[in-house]
Symmetry: C2
Subunit: 222 residues, 2 copies
Amino acid sequence: MSERMIATIDVVLLTIQQQQLSVALTKREHEPYAGLDALPGGYIQADADRDSLDAALRILHRKTGVTPPYLEQLRTFDGCARDPRGWSISIAYFALVDAELLLQANHPGLSICPVDALRRLPFDHNDIIDAAVERIRNKSQYSSLPCHLAGERFTLPNLQKIYEACLGEKLNKVSFRRKMDELGVLEEIAGQTEAGGAHRPAQVYRLKAEFANALKLLQRGL
Amino acid sequence: MSERMIATIDVVLLTIQQQQLSVALTKREHEPYAGLDALPGGYIQADADRDSLDAALRILHRKTGVTPPYLEQLRTFDGCARDPRGWSISIAYFALVDAELLLQANHPGLSICPVDALRRLPFDHNDIIDAAVERIRNKSQYSSLPCHLAGERFTLPNLQKIYEACLGEKLNKVSFRRKMDELGVLEEIAGQTEAGGAHRPAQVYRLKAEFANALKLLQRGL
């Protein structure tokens, strides 16, 4: 009756690199598909992990060297066909991180690839990434989610470029700023500005402490 | 390395009864919690189920007698603390069904309870139901999802009551009808009307065939 299943975690760690929404891949250490790039993942360990969120944080840290400011369950991918080892369950998570943090961690075997330039990956990892990209596209329309890709300090022009990379479209500057006001998640860092090329220096912002690991929603989309 | 886990399915089967959003519960046949009401659920069977969606349909049919017109993965509930048998994974689904279909099936051990009047259920089943109610509340604001609760034929006043039960609030009749037009999922059944008490007879509608198992989204919410 009580069959037991292979149970793994896969994490879609998204970041922005060269103004493109990108995903972190790691070289697989073991068969199947040893040596190929794939999503950071691993087995749930009943004695080490309280739940799958715990497991996702442990595995992500071991495989990429980072603990992301935002991590959310995506959905579960499962069945008899997705893994040559047999019927398997992968509880997929997606995480957001500033590319700077990934560069600092400089973890061996880690690469960053634009989501629009992915080759065919092992298992159903392309499907898992597609689901994560769809989720972030939807949530970017009405939430503070992309702010977690911006690092600790950023200007509004930087943040707008990040929203545009997530949404895959250009935004109007005035309505973008009005929507950010409405969200109410940002605060100015007093006295800090950043040179903006031909423009006057831009105010530097950060996420308010209470939103550093949380989402806030707009009443209406961007 | 490759530990195996207890892997189950739980289904939140939602319906409308007496204009209240309600959930189907079944009497548990086995320990733990034998004899208590809980969500319809069971083990995934590697030889019977191609994937968890297959398993959800099989288990739901066995425990409730119905195959719902709408079924979607909710999320996975897991960890060391949720099941006295040990570390476990439950891939939760939610389904929508017309109450009439449940009454016809008349399955032994099945009961229907308003989601606002639930007692403490076994495992984390209250949390799973809360997540399903949150999902349907969110999706009711901008999609055709509640139409799957309406049965094969319905009038617009009936459908508005169903949306109101899902959302937990009253809607404006004129804007509700405009939004339904905008969704474009309904078609009139020629020549069919239904007596409407003091009002003139109401036109009878059904879902267009192409939306019978699918969602359609509004650009802006209700």
